[in-house]
C-alpha cells in the first residue's frame, strides 16, 4: 500500500521526497491568497474549532479512567497507542503533502484516536489500533482533503476496517469487568483465556433468558450497565459517564440535543416495538444501555462534519441511525449495528443539508443544474 502525492511538476521539484512508514509524498501547499470557500458548518460563535475539540477531548477522559478500573490497565495503553497512531499519521501525511502540520493542534486527530480506541474491544493486541488509526486518518480524512471534508466518521471507518480485517479478534476479544479493583489483572493475558460475550451477542444468539442468567436480574442489569460493569468496547460501557459528558457538551452548546435524543429514542422505541417475541414487548432500556448506542449518539453521530446542520435534518439523521441500528441488531449478521448505521447515514448529510436548508427570504434562484 504505497500512496503518493504531488501537485505540479514545478512544485514537486522543490519538494524533498519524504518517506515514512506507508506514505510517501511530495508537494508543498500552493500558498496563495485565495478566497476561502468553506462548506458547512460555518461557525459564527466566538468559540474556535480547536477550543471545542479540546473540550470534547476533556469530556472523553472520564470514560477512559473508568475503563481502566473496569477492564484493567491495558485499555489505557490501547487508547494511548490509538491516539498516537492517529496524531502521527496526521502529522506525517500532512508533512508529506506539504500541508500545514499545525492542524494536529486542533485536537481532531486526538478525538478520532480516542473514539477509535473506545469502540474496539479491550482484549485486542496492541498493534491493532495502530492499523486502525492509519486507515481512519489517512484514508478517511487526509485523502478526502483534511478536517471538514471527510464524508465518514474516521473512527468508525477505522473500526469497520478492523472488523473486516480481523473479524476474530474484533468479535471475541471481550473481557469481563473487574470487580476486585485489580487493574493489572488482564495485562498480558491471552484473549482466549478470558474472553466472554457481550450482552448483545448473548441476546441475539441465546435470547433474553440467557442474558438474565448471565448478568443477574433485570434491576441488577440496569444498575451494572448504567455504571459500566459489563463486557463491551473500551469506552462504550458506562452510560452514566458518557451521558454526563454529552450533557456538558450540550450545555456548552457545542452540540445540540436533537441527534442524541432522536437516536436514543428511536432505538428504544423500535426495539420496544419489534424487539420482543410479539410486538411491543422488547426491552428498550436494555437496548439503549447495551452496545454503543450512548457513545454513538453523543459523540459519533454528532460529529460536526458528518452530520446535518439543520434541526429537521438532524432529527431525520438521528432517527435513521436509530432505525438502521435496530434493523442490523435484530435482523442482521452482526450483534451490534451502531457503527454501520452511522456510517450508512453519514453520506446522506449533504443531501439532508440541502433539502432542509433554512427558509430563504429572497426569491428562489433559478436552478442552474
Amino acid at each position: 500500500m504505497t500512496e503518493s502525492e504531488a501537485t505540479t511538476v514545478e512544485e514537486a521539484e522543490k519538494a524533498i521526497p519524504a518517506t515514512e512508514e506507508e506514505e510517501e509524498a511530495i508537494a508543498p501547499e500552493a500558498v496563495a491568497p485565495e478566497l476561502y470557500v468553506s462548506i458547512s458548518p460555518h461557525f459564527k460563535s466566538k468559540e474556535s474549532v480547536s477550543k471545542i475539540m479540546w473540550t470534547v477531548v476533556a469530556c472523553l477522559q472520564p470514560p477512559l479512567i473508568l475503563s481502566v478500573f473496569i477492564f484493567g490497565f491495558q485499555t489505557l495503553i490501547i487508547t494511548l497507542i490509538s491516539v498516537l497512531s492517529c496524531v502521527g499519521t496526521e502529522y506525517v501525511s500532512n508533512r508529506c503533502l506539504g500541508r500545514p502540520t499545525d492542524s494536529i493542534k486542533d485536537g481532531s486527530a486526538v478525538i478520532t484516536g480516542l473514539l477509535l480506541a473506545y469502540v474496539i474491544p479491550p482484549g485486542v493486541p496492541y498493534w491493532m489500533p495502530i492499523l486502525g488509526g492509519v486507515v481512519a486518518i489517512y484514508v478517511t480524512k487526509v485523502l478526502m482533503g483534511g478536517l471538514g471534508y471527510n464524508m465518514f466518521n474516521p473512527a468508525l471507518i477505522g473500526r469497520a476496517f478492523l472488523v473486516a480485517t480481523y473479524p476474530v479478534a474484533m468479535t471475541s476479544a471481550w473481557l469481563p469487568p473487574i470487580r476486585d479493583a485489580s487493574v493489572f489483572k488482564y495485562m498480558g493475558a491471552g484473549v482466549d483465556a478470558v474472553s466472554t460475550a457481550t450482552p448483545l451477542y448473548i441476546l441475539k444468539h441465546y435470547g433474553m433468558a440467557a442474558v438474565i442468567e448471565r448478568f443477574g436480574s433485570l434491576s441488577v442489569i440496569y444498575r451494572d450497565f448504567f455504571i459500566g460493569l459489563r463486557p463491551g468496547c473500551i469506552g462504550e460501557t458506562s452510560a452514566f459517564i458518557l451521558i454526563i459528558g454529552g450533557c456538558f457538551l450540550i450545555y456548552k452548546r457545542y452540540v445540540t440535543w436533537h441527534i442524541p435524543v432522536s437516536v436514543i429514542v428511536s432505538v428504544g422505541l423500535l426495539t420496544w416495538i419489534f424487539g420482543g417475541e410479539k410486538f411491543f414487548t422488547g426491552n428498550p432500556l436494555l437496548a439503549v444501555l447495551s452496545g454503543g448506542v450512548i457513545i454513538g449518539a453523543f459523540f459519533m453521530a454528532t460529529d460536526y462534519v458528518t452530520s446535518p446542520t439543520q434541526v429537521t435534518g438532524k432529527i431525520i439523521f438521528g432517527v435513521g441511525v436509530g432505525a438502521l441500528t435496530v434493523l442490523i441488531r435484530l435482523k442482521g449478521g452482526y450483534p451490534e449495528g451502531v457503527c454501520y448505521a452511522i456510517l450508512l447515514m453519514n453520506p446522506l448529510t449533504p443531501a439532508l443539508n440541502r433539502w432542509f436548508k433554512p427558509k430563504r427570504f429572497a426569491p428562489e434562484p433559478e436552478e442552474g443544474a
Binding site: 500500500m1 504505497t2 500512496e3 503518493s4 502525492e5 504531488a6 511538476v9 514537486a12 521539484e13 509524498a25 484514508v139 476496517f161 473486516a164 480485517t165 480481523y166 473479524p167
Partner: protein, 205 residues
C-alpha cells in the same frame, strides 16, 4: 490523434502502459474490482479478454469496408458476443476450474467498454496487422493491470502469491474481501498518477 502514425510496436507498448485500460483509461473497472483477488484470476480473465479483444479487432478490421455505418454498433456487439460465447463454451468445456473461479465475469466481457471502444476507435479504421497489435497490446495491458491488482490483494490479503504461501500468515484479510477492490484500485490509480508525475519531472530535469 496521432494513433495512425504509430508503429506496431508503439501500439503494442501504448496499450500496456500509456493507455492502460484500467489505470489510465479507467475502462472495464468491474472485473478490476471484482475478481482481482489473486494473480491467477488476473491471468485467467486477462487471457479471456485478450482473446476476445484480438479476435474481435481482427474480425472488424477484416470486414471494416463492408460494415454499413448505421449498424456499426450492433455489428460490434454481435461480433463481441459471438467471440465471448465461443470462449465461454471453450472454457466451460476444457478448463472448468478456471471457469468456476471467474463466475459471471467471463460472460460479462460482452459489456466491457474497452473492447467496444477499441473497435470503434481503432479497428474499424485500420488494417489487420495494426488492429491485431493494438488489440494485443490492450489485452495485455488489461492482463497486466489485473495481475498487478491481484498481486497486491493476494499478497496482503492471504499472504500468498499464485497460490504459494510466501508469508505464512494472513496480514490483512480485508484485501480479499469484496469491498477492498475499490480501495485497492483507487490507491493504485493514485500511485500510477504519482509515478507519472515523477517520471515527467525526471525527464525534464
Amino acid at each position: 490523434m496521432a494513433i495512425k502514425e504509430k508503429t506496431n510496436k508503439q501500439l503494442f507498448v501504448d496499450g500496456i502502459l500509456k493507455e492502460n485500460p484500467i489505470f489510465k483509461l479507467a475502462l472495464s473497472m468491474c472485473p478490476a474490482v471484482g475478481i482481482s483477488t489473486s494473480v491467477m484470476n488476473g491471468i485467467l480473465l486477462g487471457t479471456a479478454v485478450l482473446f476476445v479483444q484480438v479476435c474481435s479487432s481482427c474480425t472488424i478490421s477484416l470486414v471494416r469496408n463492408y460494415i454499413h455505418p448505421k449498424i456499426r454498433i450492433p455489428t460490434y456487439t454481435l461480433t463481441i458476443a459471438t467471440w465471448v460465447t465461443v470462449i465461454d463454451l471453450v472454457l466451460a468445456a476444457y478448463v472448468p476450474v478456471a471457469y468456476k473461479a471467474m463466475g459471471l465475469f467471463v460472460r460479462l466481457i460482452v459489456a466491457f467498454a474497452i473492447i467496444t471502444m477499441r473497435l470503434e476507435m481503432f479497428a474499424c479504421k485500420n488494417p489487420l496487422p495494426k488492429s491485431f497489435w493494438d488489440g494485443f497490446g490492450m489485452g495485455l495491458g488489461f492482463m497486466f493491470a489485473m495481475m498487478t491488482l491481484g498481486f497486491v490483494r493476494e499478497l496482503l490479503g492471504s499472504g500468498m502469491i499464485m497460490g504459494y504461501d510466501v508469508l505464512g500468515f494472513k496480514p490483512l484479510l480485508y484485501f480479499v474481501l469484496p469491498c477492498a477492490g475499490f480501495v485497492t484500485v483507487g490507491l493504485m490509480m493514485g500511485f500510477f498518477n504519482w509515478i507519472e508525475v515523477v517520471y515527467e519531472r525526471r525527464k525534464k530535469g
